[in-house]
């Protein structure tokens, strides 16, 4: 009788918990994400072509900045996603440190190079925009400086991850560093912002009305969504390769290799 009641009170697993639980298993993760990656790349490609066509061709030139404002369609989405990736990396780092899920460690660590690449895109596009607008490639203004510090933080995480030989220990150390960086990032951002406020005020806000015309806004939003799909596609592709690398001696990888060959 006792065993009966135990059977009945066994916690029922709902679909979401089961899903998260399953995603922690490398073979399942590999198979599941494999189905999405081509679609993510496709959506990214379509959105980018559409967004860039609107932004670079369709939208009229700005009356003040001329044609150079079009760099914004690359610069601003890259800046947004570079900050988003850092916060996602820190959240995943926290999950990885607390629950020690290997997939999440890999996801957090594979985010870092993508985020670093986006900070470089942001800085390059920003300085190319700065030349015609401010008359110089580099200004020590608040946003450029915080983006530069963000790049250094990314490089620190990547450097630490690549210096430690044992992959799981490396991932945990780098995740902790990402978390420390995330705690510091708002402080860095506000101190730098306060330190120098040469940059023009931010012209898009989610709460208030935005001060740019909606025809100019659309391509920006399309590009912002495109970068998210790029991140997802790139992250999953990288993580799958990393997973195969780490599990090269496991049977599920061998099975996949056998299927492929």
């Amino acid at each position: 009788m006792n065993s009966n009641t135990i059977k009945k009170t066994k916690p029922r697993k709902n679909a979401l918990v089961m899903f998260i639980h399953k995603m922690g298993s490398p073979p399942w993760f590999y198979q599941f994400t494999g189905k999405f990656i081509p679609w993510f790349w496709l959506i990214f490609g379509v959105l980018t072509v559409w967004g860039l066509y609107l932004g670079l061709v369709k939208v009229p030139a700005d009356y003040l900045q001329g044609e150079s404002f079009r760099i914004m369609y690359l610069h601003v989405p890259a800046a947004w996603i570079s900050m988003l990736i850092y916060s996602l990396m820190a959240v995943m780092g926290f999950i990885a440190l607390v629950w020690r899920i290997r997939i999440v460690e890999i996801l957090a660590m594979c985010s870092a190079p993508i985020g670093a690449a986006f900070t470089i895109v942001t800085l390059t596009a920003g300085s190319l925009w700065g030349r015609p607008t401010w008359g110089t490639y580099w200004v020590w203004d608040a946003r450029l400086t915080s983006e530069l510090v963000l790049l250094f933080l990314y490089l620190g995480v990547i450097g630490l991850y690549n210096s430690i030989d044992e992959p799981r220990k490396a991932a945990r150390a780098a995740c902790l560093l990402a978390l420390v960086g995330a705690v510091n990032l708002p402080i860095i951002h506000y101190s730098v912002k306060w330190w120098n406020t040469l940059h023009q005020g931010s012209s898009i806000s989610l709460t208030g009305g935005s001060s740019i015309d909606s025809s100019m806004l659309w391509p920006l939003l399309i590009m912002a969504i495109a970068t998210k799909f790029y991140y997802a596609a790139n992250l999953l592709t990288r993580s799958r390769v990393k997973l195969l690398e780490q599990d090269i001696r496991k049977s599920w990888v061998r099975e996949i290799l056998r299927e492929k060959s």
């Binding site: 250094f152 630490l160 210096s163 220990k169 902790l176 560093l177 960086g181 860095i188 101190s191």
Partner: protein
Amino acid sequence: MSAVPVGGSLSKAFFALLRRDLLLAFRRRTELLFPVIFLLVVVSLFPLGIGPGPQLLARIAPGVIWIAALLATVISLDGLFRSDFEDGTMEQFVISGHPLTLISLAKIVAHWLVAGLPIVLLSPLLALWMNLPLESLKVMIMTLVLGTPILSLIGSIGVGLTISLKRGGQLLSLLVFPLYVPILIIATAAVMAASDSLPYMQFLGLLLAGLITSLTLAPFAAASALKISLS
């Protein structure tokens, strides 16, 4: 397995470790002097590189002294856990039953007394070299008193993460310098405000807030970093 502290209370362990670390540091007096000499050399390079114009030197003095302090701290940081990690003492600390956070804090305090305090004590000389006015010197010393412990505290996290690497020191500077940016900005702003006879108390308040925050959080992060490195 219950973690029973072997010998006495937490404060006893803290002060015993602090005394041990200070004693060890003073037994190796020459090593102790390296960061201090480094600080003096770096600061003396600036007038040589920029020119001895007193006006210009006074203008850049806060930044130069603070950057030299950052560099000297990072140089000395590598010794924070290094010898204990290499000879296995750190493992003994972990299994001693005392919280690793407390042990990290004791070692950080010892590090500040050995590496941070000399910077504060030498700052009048550096200010003299850099032609910093006397009234700014007072603020300079206050920013160093409040700021250099933060450098040791945040640095301890970086040391904990890189300690298992053979060439951790090179990576360490990449890890901690971005985290030092706010301290550098606020501290130099305070001294510059004092030089321009503007109010500076708000900056000292910010530094104090930073000190309290890092004092409460950094030892925990350093302890978990050490645990990862020891695993």
